[in-house]
Amino acid sequence: MEIIGRLHPLLLHLPIGILAIAFLMEWFNRRNQNTTFSPAISFGLKVGMWSAIISAASGYILSLEGGYDENTLFWHQWLGILTAVFSIGVYYLNQKKAHNASFEKAYFPAFSSTIVFLLAAGHFGGSLTHGSDFLIEPFSPTEDVAITDLNSAKVFESFIQPIFKKKCTSCHNESKLKGDLLMSSLIGLKNGGKTGPLFVAGDAENSLMMKRIHMPIEEKKHMPPKGKTQLTEDEVLLLEWWVSEGGDFEKTVGENKVPENIQTILNKYVEIEDVGVFALDISSASESRIQDLREVGFEVYPVAQESPFLDISWKGNTELDKDILKKLKKVSEQVIRLNLSNSNLTDDLFAVIKDLPNLQKLSVNKTEITGKALNNLSTHNYLEVLNLYNTKVDDPGIESIFKLQRLKKLFLWQTSVSDSMITKIRNERPKLMVSAGVDASVFGDARLKPPLIMADKDIFRDSLPVELNINFNGVEVYYTLDGSEPDSTSTKYDTTIYLTQTTNLKVIAKKEGWKTSEVANRFFVHAKYKPVNIKLNKKPSDRYAAEGPKSLGDFKKGTLAFTDGNWVGYEGSHFTATLDLGKKSEVSRVTVSALEASASWIFYPKGIEIAVSENGSNFKKVSTQVIPTADVPEPPELSNFSEGFDPVLARYVQVKVKSNLKNPDWHPNPGEPCWVFVDEILVE
């Protein structure tokens, strides 16, 4: 039986050829509208039909042997069978079409379809045997072959030709051909150019190429010419070595004498080209084994399309156990990236790693393993990345990593490995990156944020509860009520503060290991008296008049939006407000609440003068306050300008608010009239 199957590659060419020629003849007939080839077509179809059936059958037998890409095989098989079935149909139509008009109609489309199926089946068949990229391979750019083993690397192909390609062939190629020298082909190199042969085999000193290279760069004949990318020292040495070893195009490194200095240069190539585990030539794991792993809770996928290597992660839906891990051994060659982190992995279970020799990256962070587990890591020559963060790995255990020659990155944060051990590893393996957590100096100066001062209002008549809020455990909050800067000797906050007088509350947050926060403050005004009447010496701007003069004493604060209807605004002028408290009262403090929004031409007052009177006509000045003008733009903000003075008895309080009148010089519109905005004047 098997023999018939193995005949498939031979038999399959028969239907292709025969059916194709029959089709061509049919086409010819139709083009010339005659029946010259009709008998031949009929015969061809008959033979084609039988050969198609036999090919399909033999193909099926061959497929039973297995070993083919399932997906491609599926298409090849069914297209092949379809071709056979259609060829029977077409032969039948061919025989009967003379007697039946609809048969006649269907005949040619059916024939064409057969050919299409035939070609498609053929293509997939080709893909099966030659690989799916066979067809387009010539169009894919070829890349330089990676050097995996220095001794078997060909000197010319691996080291010399790349130099020519990089530095010479931009001028010495088929289309440019400077000095009649062609360096992009072997023949060209052997023939040399106008001035003679390129090199004398075995004699670097007398070789033209080397002479040109060694000329001083100012010389016209120096190569590569001035202005072009020059050869590096290493490249010159390599060329020299190649010429003196005979300028051979086939020899490998092992077949040449390699002086020490050349060896060092060659080693560099290998280091750069080291592809680690990817140099291994292994076959893919079967679909069923992969499926098996997925079923027990692993995530499995090839590291790349068409790659046999697998990237496997434990999803952690259930507990790991020996039976589950044993399944990894079925893909012991293929698995190169394994992630068992965040699981119940123990030293005992870790033993499975011993049987997975090709691991390139192993993540066992956040597991229960200790240093002992690492004894299983010794034969893992390809291991490049090892993540042990948050495990109980210790100093004796970590010594195992010195056996891992390719190890490039090691993660040891939150393990029991000591600092001195980490220093030792760093000293012995300078190229190995050891991560042991972030250096404290990077984020050590992190500063706390001050707590939020939470209160319903800024102005109160009797008393006001204030809370300090910080959304962070273990933070201590300190505050002062007298305007002094708080520190850890100040009052510690633990419960609501009740304010009974005008207060500048200042708070800080402190916590071990953090920089203390900046000071946050908020000004609370105790408005003891509500004026019965307020008079303004002139009308405010129509647009910013709030609800008349009384707005200044209604305890309704304005917001940063100066159009909110609580603000009384004056453009380019001072103003004076006179408050009538209704009866003689003891007055000791006046607070003016104002807005600054320089982008909107609004500035704080330049000064505030306060005078009091018992009768409303004779005023006595009790306080003068000068407020500096802002010298840089700031985002809009509110401020209270509060002045205390010796208590006096008074019924009337006169507040002169001085405006800056004009925008300051730094302002985008200097000299234009500016505004002054006040929402409350409060008397205590």
Partner: protein, 493 residues
């Protein structure tokens, strides 16, 4: 009547069968020719394994990936490169002089400065110093970022085609200025699927900056699925009680009855699926299952109470306040640990047309410590290896002042010709500054990186050939990089 309906259904089936079988053989042959492999996928690119996760259209990446996931710290509004990464002494020296026309060279301006008579050069008022082994210039506004300079690849030569926010962000996210294409995260979800069957493959976190509190809003289509299946759209996680909207069971419904309901619906859906074979139905089933699982997984990932103090110290005190950028960075790490493929943060408020010195200072403070902490936290866990972190906005800002230039104040308009971003981890060469702008900080003079190049590079690091991850829609194959994009090989490790 019933007969007609049946007939129609059969017709539909026949038509569907014919179109599928005729296209089928062709695509099969073609895909094999092109080296693609999507024969055993359903048509809309979703395979819904019984466990409900999202499986990508590519069974495995095109080539071995350097990064398995992305954390994209998007800085919305256009951060000023001249205040952060692109140090220009000439601008400082020639402060106040007019921008030479030979430099501007006809660049179009936005409506916000096109009427300006004068374009005074505005050197930054902030100091720069060199940091890290490669001596990268970084502004004093970013002290923590400066400390991790050796981990970063700073690209100073990004450029884009758009000049206003929405088209520019849309361009960055979807590869097209016009809305309607899938976002980067959606493409990845479509291509590679999810590695955590309990969480979506693409999650989104938003925060508002203190630099400009009421900046441009963001639209959810920026993290939309475009023409891809809705399973691939970004899911926004919010701070507060309801991290994902409409996810919680209503009061009085417990998980048992929810389970029963879903089982019953799934049964009905399966019947429907058997009859019609519409793949939309199977994806609907999967979405219900995912939502059910997220009811458990989302609260778990959002609860950062168990994070130790030293982690809060790294990310800064704001990380304890839900909804801040710092808190989102911490969440991003937690999502990454749980295998979420694409984690997109947006930090708003970088649009500083006026009052720039102050605003950019606040804004920089918002992001500096937490961004650096995220990189270092990933590093100490061994996750920076395979996580690509990206920081950057949609365009840069002009070298001249919008509005009056004074000693202490100026503004900057949008500038698409050059701006700076950084990337770290996941196969990016660390400690590199790539690209260079002219002495005026206006044009690129070395190694320009277009938005499509950036996208191609990110895809490359994830193991995807950006030219081969496509989706056919309206008769054309679409891809993230449209018909452009070159992988920037120089910045690959």
């Amino acid at each position: 009547m019933e007969k007609e309906i049946k007939n129609r259904q059969h017709q539909m089936n026949r038509r569907a069968f014919l179109s599928k079988s005729s296209v089928g053989v062709g695509t099969a042959a073609l895909s094999s020719l092109l080296g693609l492999n999507f024969l055993n996928k359903s048509e809309n690119g979703i395979i819904t394994p019984p466990n409900g996760g999202i499986k990508g259209i590519l069974n495995s990446p095109h080539f071995a990936p350097k990064a398995k996931r992305v954390i994209y710290l998007f800085q919305s509004g256009g951060p000023s490169q001249l205040e952060l990464f692109d140090y220009k002494p000439t601008l400082i020296k020639r402060r106040g002089e007019e921008l030479p026309e030979s430099i501007r060279n006809g660049q179009r301006l936005t409506g916000m400065t096109s009427g300006q008579d004068s374009f005074p050069l505005a050197g930054s008022i902030y100091n720069f110093e060199q940091h890290g082994q490669n001596g990268a210039w970084i502004s004093e506004l970013l002290p923590y970022t400066a400390k991790i300079a050796d981990e970063l690849c700073i690209i100073k030569s990004m450029h884009t085609e758009a000049i206003n926010h929405d088209p520019a962000i849309t361009f960055f996210q979807t590869g097209s200025q016009q809305p309607g294409r899938p976002s980067m995260g959606a493409w990845l979800s479509y291509g590679l699927g999810s590695t955590n069957e309990n969480l979506p493959a693409f999650t989104v976190l938003l925060s508002r900056g203190t630099g400009r509190k009421f900046g441009q809003p963001l639209y959810s289509r920026l993290w939309g699925n475009g023409f891809l299946h809705s399973l691939h759209q970004g899911v926004q996680f919010r701070s507060g009680k309801d991290p994902v909207l409409y996810l919680k069971d209503p009061d009085g419904i417990d998980r048992v009855s929810r389970r029963k309901m879903l089982d019953k619906i799934a049964e009905l859906n399966h019947k429907q699926l058997e009859e019609f074979g519409d793949p939309e139905i199977s994806s609907r089933i999967a979405q219900y299952e995912m939502a059910y699982k997220m009811q458990m997984s989302v609260p778990e990932v959002m609860d950062t109470a168990g994070e130790p103090d030293h982690i809060y110290q790294m990310y800064g005190p704001e990380s304890t306040q839900p909804g801040t950028y710092a808190a989102n960075c911490l969440l991003a790490r937690r999502l990454a640990e749980r295998g979420v493929r694409f984690i997109q943060l947006y930090h708003m408020g970088w649009d500083h047309h006026d009052n720039l010195p102050n605003a950019v200072k606040n804004q920089a403070r918002d992001i500096d410590q937490a961004s650096a902490a995220l990189v270092m936290d990933l590093k100490q866990r061994g996750m920076l290896e395979d996580t690509l972190v990206i920081w950057g906005g949609e365009f840069g800002r002009t070298n001249y002042s919008q509005g009056i230039l004074t000693d202490t104040n100026y503004g900057r308009d949008h500038h698409p010709r050059c701006f700076s971003i950084w990337m770290a981890g996941g196969g990016i060469k660390p400690g590199v500054v790539y690209g260079e702008t002219d002495e005026f900080g206006y044009n690129i003079i070395e190694n320009p990186v277009h938005v499509h190049d950036f996208q191609a590079t990110a895809m490359h690091l994830l193991g995807i050939d950006h030219e081969r991850l496509t989706y056919k829609y309206q008769g054309r194959r679409f891809r993230l990089t449209d018909v452009h994009g070159k992988v920037v090989k120089d910045i690959l490790a």
